[in-house]
């Protein structure tokens, strides 16, 4: 194990996969000569050259479609979209082609692309640079959606995603590229489906993914130290498909669920996990499940208001105390 940063983990996964397979390429805005906005491709241009580390024009729909077309003939593109806010321009290609081509061709053609893109609210980036878009990608059949919460997952998910024959969207976070964490020194692959128990507990399950796993873990510490409540934290690193069995197992154990998401509440991870709880283990519940979500607003520029729009660990603590009738 070595402690490395999130961007270094991504860079390592790119490097290893591109070294292994000459048909693995990466493409995106400023990823080559400039080294990548988040450094995830730093140094790869010099190592692999401009045919395989491609600085694209600012044409999200165009280059995403180009990557998909290349994947039809055996190329394995890793496409970096600088921010999920810009991924809207690539939606036609991702949804209408990548997610559907195997199906509508009766199994003849597939689009094994990886699209990586950071979402989330960073520091005062304003409404058009603060979207959380995982909910949009999750709702479409034929596409896998994963979201790493630490460098190990970032590395292992990208490694598996490149090799998987499905199109995979990797939802990263603007604020997490410099986060440190342990990554195995040997090659390591994450499954693209399932969830991880980030903290074991017995009294309530906190469901998080990506950055909200960290809010859940912080909340769990507070709940334990200040209130004697032993919370379990489930890391939903796969958003599509969601881990029905894992959700059921944890709720059947703790009988309480709080789902924590950085996005607006409607049609999101929270509502989806709640539906799964209803379908899978409703009679295990001791209290109605609760969502902790962002306010239903575009993200404001003002720092104070911006912070108000997004949940914190304290919101999670409050939600648990309320659910337990302790506040």
């Amino acid at each position: 194990m070595s402690e490395i940063m999130f961007w270094e983990a991504l860079r390592r996964a790119h490097d290893e996969e591109m070294t292994r397979d000459p048909l693995v390429i990466c493409m995106g805005e400023d990823i080559g000569v400039a080294g990548g906005t988040y450094k995830a491709t730093n140094g790869l241009y010099d190592k692999f050259g401009e045919e395989r580390v491609i600085d694209t024009p600012i044409s999200e729909g165009g280059y995403t479609g180009l990557g998909i077309g290349a994947s039809f003939v055996g190329v394995r593109p890793i496409i970096e979209i600088m921010s999920v806010n810009f991924a809207w321009l690539a939606m036609d290609q991702i949804f209408n082609t990548a997610a559907k081509v195997r199906y509508m061709s009766g199994g003849q053609l597939e689009a094994p692309i990886v699209v990586r893109s950071p979402g989330g609210t960073a520091h005062q980036l304003g409404a058009q640079h603060s979207a959380r878009m995982e909910k949009v990608f999750m709702g479409v059949a034929g596409l896998r959606v994963v979201t790493p919460s630490n460098p190990r997952q970032a590395y292992g998910l990208l490694k598996s995603a490149v090799r998987c024959n499905d199109p995979v969207f990797i939802n990263e976070h603007e604020l997490m590229y410099n986060m440190k964490g342990e990554v195995p020194d040997e090659e390591y692959f994450m499954p693209l489906e399932g969830s991880e128990v980030a903290r074991e507990g017995a009294d309530v399950t906190l469901f998080g993914y990506n950055i909200s796993v960290h809010w859940c873990l912080a909340a769990a510490e507070t709940l334990a130290s200040k209130h004697g409540i032993n919370a379990e934290v489930i890391d939903l690193f796969s958003l599509s498909p969601l881990d029905r069995d894992g959700i059921k197992a944890s709720v059947s154990k703790t009988h309480r669920a709080v789902i924590v998401e950085e996005a607006e509440p409607a049609v999101g991870v929270g509502s989806e996990v709640m539906a799964i709880i209803n379908e899978e283990c409703f009679f295990e519940l001791d209290a109605p499940p609760v969502r902790v979500s962002a306010e239903n607003v575009p993200i404001p520029y003002n720092h104070k208001l911006e912070k108000m729009a997004i949940p914190t660990a304290q919101h999670v603590v409050d939600a648990v105390l309320k659910q337990l009738g302790l506040s």
Partner: protein, 330 residues
């Protein structure tokens, strides 16, 4: 093109016409569902270009008006008709439909329903060819109205910057559904628009097989020799409505008359008759044979084929037994 080849292609084009017209009937009979876009009137475009290329070796893709491009690429007409009839023997097992014909073995990389969607896909296939080092090219046939999509410009730009072996063929039939080109498009001559990307281009008569073939030969040679993308505009006309739900009310009888007189089949037939390569009787005999073949062979096959089994509903959504879903089989 040699006389013998012209003769063969004339017969193929006649087959294409009869195939499409039989689809029309089958749609009226409700044997074919959904949207149906017919190619009648535009045959010289696909046949001229693909005669100049290497179907089955070169990659081909197009829009929803795709049956004939697929057939000329080598996809079996039976499998296409069965697909239209939504049968399991269809080329896409009844999951695709008229707008989504695929034949990857023949390198027919699909029909796509989003106007303009294939522009970047074709550039991507060309990128793949370049990376792998083959002498194939990718040929992308799309309509005139598709050129008003953003990805038209994005794809031309990337294709030029990266020198990709892609040939864009614009089948300019003057309409996007019911909107005539002047009413939607600032520059009516499509070949001029690609000058903005410094891509060589040409505009020729799309009703005359010889003309299309000659222009396509130049285009294909250019792309295959590694000189980057090319844009070929073919002036043509569709004889049917945009799709089966189209009243055709936006076109004048006079205009239709002018283009009916320029039927690509008649132009080629008359030329070959004049040159003594075929007789009118021979042509009529072909026609009778083709109609019978379509009926007895192709339609019958589609009719008699089974519907897809219910298991197919969930197949092909995600990869089956992909080990990397579990982090690799260990």
């Amino acid at each position: 093109m040699k006389a013998a080849d012209k003769k063969r292609v004339l017969k193929e084009m006649l087959f294409a016409r009869r195939f499409e017209e039989r689809c029309y009937e089958a749609y009226v009979e409700r044997k074919i569902g959904g949207f149906l876009h017919l190619y009648s009137g535009e045959e010289a475009c696909a046949y001229g270009v693909l005669e100049a290329a290497k179907p089955g070796h070169d990659y081909v893709m197009t829009s929803y008006r795709d049956h004939i491009h697929a057939i000329k690429s080598g996809v079996s007409p039976k499998a296409v008709m069965a697909e239209l009839f939504a049968k399991e023997t269809g080329c896409c097992k009844g999951l695709g439909g008229s707008m989504h014909i695929f034949g990857t073995e023949q390198r027919f990389m699909g029909g796509y329903a989003l106007v303009g969607g294939p522009f970047p896909l074709a550039a991507g296939i060309a990128k793949g060819i370049k990376l792998k080092g083959g002498d194939e090219i990718c040929i992308c046939f799309l309509g005139d109205a598709a050129n008003n999509q953003g990805v038209f410009h994005e794809s031309l730009n990337m294709a030029k910057v990266w020198g990709l072996p892609v040939l864009y063929v614009c089948e300019n039939n003057l309409y996007g559904i019911g909107t005539r080109i002047e009413r939607s498009t600032a520059v009516v001559d499509q070949y001029k628009r690609v000058a903005a990307y410094d891509i060589p281009s040409a505009q020729v008569d799309g009703q005359d097989l010889d003309t299309v073939y000659d222009a396509a030969k130049i285009a294909v040679d250019h792309v295959r020799s590694g000189k980057g993308p090319y844009f070929l505009e073919l002036m043509t006309y569709r004889y049917r409505g945009h799709s089966m739900s189209d009243s055709n009310a936006y076109r004048t009888k006079e205009e239709e008359q002018i283009w009916n007189e320029r039927d690509p089949l008649n132009i080629l037939r008359d030329r070959l008759v004049e040159a003594g390569e075929i007789t009118t009787d021979e042509y009529k005999k072909w026609d009778t044979e083709i109609i019978a073949e379509i009926e007895d062979d192709i339609i019958k096959f589609a009719e008699d084929s089974p519907e897809p089994s219910a298991e197919l509903l969930h197949k092909y959504v995600l990869a089956e037994n992909d080990p990397w879903v579990n982090g690799g089989a260990k």
